[in-house]
Subunit: 146 residues, 2 copies
Amino acid sequence: MTDPFMLAAIAQAKKSLAEGGIPIGSVLVIDGKIVGRGHNQRVQKGSCVLHAEMDCLENAGRLTAKDYQNAVLYSTLSPCDMCSGTVLLYGIPKVVVGENRTFQGPEDYVKSRGVQLIVQDNIECVQLMQDFIAAKPELWNEDIGE
Amino acid sequence: MTDPFMLAAIAQAKKSLAEGGIPIGSVLVIDGKIVGRGHNQRVQKGSCVLHAEMDCLENAGRLTAKDYQNAVLYSTLSPCDMCSGTVLLYGIPKVVVGENRTFQGPEDYVKSRGVQLIVQDNIECVQLMQDFIAAKPELWNEDIGE
């Protein structure tokens, strides 16, 4: 059974897809409550910095260091260098990843910096990305700087 | 003599300071032309992701991988984990830093990933940050997740 926070991240990914965007979603959880939700905004806002995790953190607003240190970041896809760096900046101690088959960020480096990183290998997350990459490879490559 | 691109980044930092914000500025240069300018937007936009470098890249818009691979990112301050990760994501090959006395990001890691990182040790950049940190330490700590 998929955990409810990953389901909420997947809902964000599907929302983005329905908007014509890249199907990656994210939620930020503190003390068992979702305090931010977001999805990739490359298409929707013409943004190169609002990956799902960044949009989620932005939507969560200005938080204290203590908030971040008690947070868990969920993402449907393995966080890239940018999003991983943001986790490190704010000292978010735990990241739960839907899948890392279609893309893998610097997971070993993130773990070496003390972050707990859990990969759920969720098949729905994999399918969303596989279908999207097959349909719009240029858009996907743009999103990961390739 | 301060190079003109760093002067443009410093102008962004001063603009932010005049707006009541954090005095860090950045410009993105491709083929000798400034294609994006930005400054920290924590105060102005309530943003936790728009550090100067991120705001600059966002303002530059959606670029191609080739654009980024020919770009130089200027920042008045040593890029943090987030901004450094963004440099790595997009394969920006060169970063010119105003100063790293008041804050130092993961410079060794960035260099180990193949990025050329030059620190100019610009005294005006140092002074901007020293004065700001003395005046608003809480705001500064929030910006670096402390």
